[in-house]
């Protein structure tokens, strides 16, 4: 569904956002994870034809982002990371406007907008100016655009950043209702684990890991994470925190030594980069 080959983006200030990135994704929901500044947003913007790459190729549904941008645009929806509604307009008006922009008739757009907003539990709120809505409702309004547009591929750039836990759960539920292929970026590992069938980890503009959440976690089979505030031998140090991966059977011994025990999550893919878990 999406693939890149040696995709590079160098900004005018000389900084590289992407460095010869090679990825491909074809699952129902793919999460692109990475730290802030890893290149996630640049990748999404190139794939959704908002930004030109410096070199390399990127394809969406087999179409090239440079030479076939017009065709790609007909088949995608892309919700930018910091997209904010025009506060004075209602959620209904903004979804309808977006759908008319995609070529729907006024009648169809109104019907689809209303249905999508109702489906995302915005029935009551849809006719209020969006500057009166909560952050979660605003994000759901954008997800409603994606739902109503019925596009083949939906790009969501950090759809839940800055939301409270309840709003985040609401947006997750909304994303699951989108029938199309979804490519989302996030730096919340829990989000990637909960939502995606496939995970691509990028850092410093390069792809580091690629697989299903289960694949990526398989190297931790039988392990647990132990952590302590302070120094420890053979540990990974993150600020004042020291982290180590040990066999589950050794948990009690580490608890006695004052370590806290944590279950393994996708976050550990990040933390463990560069260390051999088997050792």
């Amino acid at each position: 569904m999406i693939e890149t080959e040696k995709l590079t983006k160098r900004y005018s200030d000389g900084n590289y956002a992407l460095r010869e990135l090679n990825i491909s994704a074809s699952e129902k929901i793919t999460a692109i994870i990475g730290r802030n500044g890893a290149g996630k947003t640049t990748l999404i913007r190139i794939l959704s034809t908002q930004l030109l790459p410096t070199s390399g190729t990127a394809r969406v549904n087999g179409m090239d982002v440079i030479t076939e941008a017009g065709s790609i645009r007909k088949s995608i929806v892309s919700i930018p990371q910091e997209a904010a509604p025009i506060g004075i307009l209602t959620a209904f008006e903004q979804v309808k406007l977006y759908l008319v922009g995609r070529g729907m008739s006024f009648k169809d757009a109104a019907q689809s907008a209303s249905m999508a907003l109702d489906e995302l539990d915005l029935r009551e709120a849809k006719h209020y100016p969006t500057d009166t809505l909560s952050g979660g409702m605003k994000r759901k309004m954008f997800v409603a655009m994606a739902l109503a547009a019925n596009a083949e591929v939906v790009f969501l750039d950090e759809p839940t950043t800055g939301l409270d836990p309840i709003s985040r759960l609401e947006v997750w539920s909304a994303i699951r209702r989108i029938g199309s292929t979804v490519i989302l970026t996030t730096h919340y590992m829990e989000e990637a684990e909960q939502l995606s069938n496939e995970v691509i980890l990028i850092d410093n503009g390069r792809s580091l890991e690629h697989g299903t959440p289960a694949d990526l976690l398989s190297r931790f089979r039988g392990k647990i994470r132990v952590e302590i505030n302070g120094q420890c031998e053979d540990c990974i140090h993150i600020g004042s925190l020291s982290v180590k991966y040990v066999n589950r059977e050794m948990a009690d011994r580490y608890i006695d030594m004052g370590f806290a025990i944590r279950p393994i999550t996708l976050e550990d893919i990040f933390i463990s980069r560069g260390v051999s878990i088997e050792s």
């Binding site: 913007r45 959704s48 034809t49 908002q50 930004l51 030109l52 941008a69 645009r73 007909k74 995608i76 929806v77 892309s78 919700i79 930018p80 990371q81 910091e82 997209a83 904010a84 509604p85 025009i86 004075i88 307009l89 008006e93 903004q94 309808k96 406007l97 977006y98 008319v100 922009g101 995609r102 070529g103 008739s105 006024f106 100016p129 655009m145 790009f155």
Partner: protein, 240 residues
């Protein structure tokens, strides 16, 4: 062209905004009405007709030029442009929709100036038709300048400052609120770089307040075409 989108954007972003935020009307009227008051006081009422006619021009031009701030804000802060780039909307539909929105912002002011003009016996029906044509060209040319400028704004913090400077310089310096005969012809030619100048000169001529300077007709037409074409080429749609 997707005219449905263009008109819906104008309807929502223009009329709905005016309806739900009456302060926009006051804001768009404040500058021309203040200048009308000053001209009235300084000229002891003798130049008030110029100020009323200039008020139409000043109002439409200042709303359209201030829109550079809106267009940049929607691109940089709301990310609306990104949303529409990755869809079927093309830049011309988007630009035209926003331009028509700004025209809608001006409507309450145009109504107010029409009432003032009626009471001051400023215009006849042919004058109104000439004014409508001039204002239509003016809104296209000044909005085009706004889009070109807004594309070059890189930070939200600069958005309103640049738009404000543009609006004041380009609407107050030209002979919008005073007879164009007050300044040398060479200055008229120099100031014609802003479409507000030919619009003001032609309006004063059409209303019989000053001699008609016919040369400004082609200037106005050419500027509208040139600025609109430049906006199409220079306005950043897909980023590099």
């Amino acid at each position: 062209m997707n005219l449905k989108f263009t008109f819906l954007l104008a309807w929502y972003y223009g009329l709905r905004t005016v309806g739900r935020g009456p302060s926009y009307i006051v804001a768009s009227l404040s500058s021309p009405l203040t200048l009308l008051f000053i001209v009235f006081i300084i000229s002891r009422g003798t130049l008030v007709k110029y100020a009323i006619v200039g008020g139409f021009i000043g109002l439409v031009a200042s709303v359209a030029l201030s829109s550079a701030g809106d267009a940049a804000f929607m691109r940089l802060q709301l990310r609306m442009q990104d949303l529409y780039v990755a869809s079927r909307v093309n830049p011309s539909d988007y630009m035209l929709g926003l331009t028509l929105s700004y025209l809608m912002f001006s409507l309450p002011g145009i109504v107010l100036y029409s009432i003032l003009g009626y009471y001051e016996n400023v215009f006849t029906l042919p004058d109104v038709l000439a004014l409508a044509g001039i204002l239509a060209l003016l809104v296209v040319s000044t909005s085009s300048i706004s889009f070109i400028v807004s594309s070059s704004i890189k930070h939200v913090r600069n958005v309103w400052g640049i738009a404000g400077i543009m609006s004041v310089v380009m609407t107050v310096l030209p002979p919008t609120f005073y007879p164009y005969t007050f300044i040398p012809k060479i200055a008229i030619y120099a100031l014609s770089v802003t479409p507000v100048t030919p619009a003001a000169v032609l309006t004063q001529g059409a209303f019989g307040l000053s001699p008609l300077m016919a040369m400004e007709i082609p200037v106005m037409l050419v500027e509208t075409v040139v600025y609109f074409s430049l906006a199409r080429y220079l306005t950043r749609w897909r980023e590099k």
